[in-house]
Symmetry: C2
Subunit: 457 residues, 2 copies
């Protein structure tokens, strides 16, 4: 069996935790040791091996994916990471992976989102593995027992029982609240967004029910495929149109952390006697049913407030009523209109070679902390408007200045003059940390002249 | 006329804006160019000259006071800055200044708090100057027209009218809410905490009505005076006991910014159409009557919340309902119990030579920005557990290493080894700014061995 993980989603609904270039699947939530994406990978390893995993994502997230897979001690072969040239919703994304799998001869495929939080991974794995027989017969979707009458999900009406599941009588997308209540009462299931099918049969189904997608995907290059295909979800484009779809119930808790309301629900078990959820011993006086999520190095106090979600990051703060958190996307839209970078980036920006964090930024200086992963190096580069001092605070650096190499050890410093060609590398086995102090007249990221780059930027 | 400014108050009620070692009088509020203390000094200059000003304060605030007076381009002679060895409330504080004034022959004195926000300073100055005749006859207090039935203030009942004011019929301390409403209806005035008297008459009054304070203050040293005196306010110790006190109405707006409720009132004129007060274009969706006060370099958004005060600092965040802000002192108490330094200090800590700001602090490194005032220098010192790189980002530094002096210019760096004696000085006319990167095994402020210090610490 092959596993297809869709990891291209750009989440804005958890801003400021998530940003355009750091969607929620890459977040490591408080109390977790791994990111949501990493846990998705580990879940897949309960059902198969890394060589059976196909990732569909955007090139914007490639280095995040490689970094987070690397942190698990794993390597995913380049040909199993499929980069969408543009976002065209789920049907083209899945079909992209299906075509790749067909090239290897075809197989049963299971499709997963990368941003779901699953507390019982073994239940999921057992259900998926148990459904392979049914998936060899036709298209299978997985239904979850509704925890509440959610209006933002799709619902599955169960029909005739078959061996290992049921026939789907009907799909119902995003009902109104009253209808959702009726669905829950009548035993409808949430459509989980997980699917299973044989890749050859899937291809036939696309040909029959989504001929424009099929036609576009006959092109030679992936750029052409995505340029010509309509943007369409698997639900609208395929599942709802197919004559026969099987359903399998999945008996576990599930949370898509779609907004801060469900985010709060996720931490229900962590509530104190006043219904407050907090992680860093925040001070709560006369306050009830709040969630406080801070970076942990800050003194936070709340007095006389109820039902708030407070998300504090070094560069951004959100205070929202718990029931109004769906408006977070409006906040992101306003920031984008203002061309405010904090819609898109954190203070810590991940790069293929590691990450940097801005510690201070003024008109006459800028201070950054650089982290370089073991064995990685930045591009060779120079700047017209700034000189830089690099102080190694952890590990050992290999610094090229002009044509000469210098080893700079912990506690040592090296100076890079204006217009001097330089390159920073980590020759060691542990992350390298460097404090960079820039002085000069301009500190923008566009004052970088690149000569050579390991990551083809 | 002499002016006595009481600047010893340790405000905790505006945490995290104010801290134990940075009380509210030293804050420069949004939209202001000067601190509350500096505006108090400037108000006094409407009534006299700097040589007529006597400051009573704690030694903890001496460098803040000298720095802020220096920023005004003024110098207050050392003998007019009176340092209380310990806090013993207002009567001993004022008597300390009165004794100093008596030594110069005695004079009419006006007493002011350093932490009041006065929007019509000229009205205050005219009222004070107009009251000197009355003050030569006896003790004068100043009454403000109540803006609301406050229960935390004292009230003055007006008696017989006299030339330039009235005789006080009665003082009423902190009434309950119903009584306060009646007082406001019956024309009582708020007791402003400003007083006027002749220093010799004041001394006689202390002898008569507060003999224990008088006796204690016959001691030779200021340490003994403060050690032996009871802790007592001028209201309880003197004003309420005196047979005859004059009152003068002061017809102006006044705000003591005693908590975030009055802090919000202070900015009433800045409210937008939804009653929100904010200073940095914060995003407010479906939110009313909130005050957001951030450091300005952060994206802040509020959704669906009402009547909140949100105070965001780099190291601390307060979210309080506007009517509950009196509990801020409980937050500070909790922090103190936890021995959390953020009760006492900001990330930026003011020193006699300037200030430092912690930019990052980990177990293996620490990054600070140092600001050294023109002509000032730090103590000569050394560290056992850390080496330091100093990168000058603004101005020119004079660095002593061992016995040798080095000039370090903007963009240059100098290295201080473990156990090497060193000293940083600013020989220039503008503030010097240095990024300090510490590496080593321990970064506490107690790993400083001081050899010589300009400020006798």
């Amino acid at each position: 069996m092959k596993m297809i993980i869709m990891a291209g989603g750009a989440g804005t609904r958890l801003w400021p935790l998530s940003r355009t270039y750091f969607p929620k699947q890459f977040l490591t939530l408080s109390g977790m040791e791994k990111s949501i994406f990493q846990m998705t990978i580990e879940r897949c390893l309960l059902m198969g091996s890394i060589k059976d995993i196909y990732l569909v994502t955007s090139k914007d997230y490639l280095h995040l994916i490689q970094g987070q897979i690397g942190d698990l001690g794993l390597t995913l072969p380049q040909e199993q990471i499929l980069l969408e040239p543009e976002a065209k919703n789920t049907l083209p994304a899945i079909f992209y992976a299906v075509q790749a799998i067909n090239k290897t001869g075809g197989d049963i495929c299971a499709v997963f989102a990368s941003d779901h939080v699953i507390e019982q991974p073994q239940v999921l794995a057992d259900t998926i593995l148990g459904a392979s027989q049914l998936a060899s017969k036709g298209f299978v979707c997985f239904g979850l027992k509704p925890a509440s009458p959610e209006t933002s999900f799709g619902y599955i009406k169960q029909g005739t029982t078959v061996q290992g599941g049921f026939e789907v009588a009907e799909f119902k997308e995003k009902p109104d609240y009253e209808t959702a209540c009726r669905y829950v009462k009548d035993g409808y299931l949430w459509n989980s967004g997980m699917f299973m099918f044989h890749s050859k049969q899937f291809t036939e189904a696309v040909k029959t029910y989504a001929p424009e997608v099929y036609k576009a995907f006959q092109a030679e290059t992936v750029e052409e495929k995505f340029k010509n295909t309509p943007s369409i979800s698997i639900d609208y484009g395929l599942t709802e149109k197919m004559e026969k779809v099987y359903g399998v119930p999945m008996l576990m808790n599930w949370n898509d952390i779609g907004n801060f309301t469900t985010f709060y629900d996720r931490y229900q078990s962590k509530q104190d006697e006043n219904g407050n959820v907090n992680f860093n011993d925040e001070i709560m006086l006369d306050s009830r049913n709040n969630l406080v999520y801070s970076e942990g190095d800050k003194a936070v106090a709340m007095i006389g407030v109820n039902d708030l979600v407070v998300i504090d990051q070094k560069d951004a703060l959100l205070v929202t009523h718990r029931d109004q958190s769906s408006k977070v996307k409006d906040v992101v839209d306003i920031l984008k209109q203002r061309k405010d970078e904090r819609a898109d980036l954190h203070l810590t920006v991940f790069k293929p070679w590691g990450a940097y964090t801005i510690l201070e930024d003024s008109e006459y200086h800028k201070v950054k902390r650089l982290t370089v992963y073991p064995g990685q190096r930045l591009s060779s580069q120079m700047h017209y408007y700034r000189s830089e001092h690099w102080i190694v605070v952890k590990g050992t650096a290999d610094v090229m200045l002009g044509d000469k190499d210098h080893i700079v050890r912990t506690g040592e410093c090296i100076y890079i003059k204006v217009e001097e060609k330089h390159r920073l590398a980590n020759p060691g086995n542990e992350p390298l940390e460097v404090i960079e102090v820039q002085t000069g007249s301009y500190f923008g990221e566009d004052d970088i002249v690149r000569f050579d780059d390991d990551y083809i930027r």
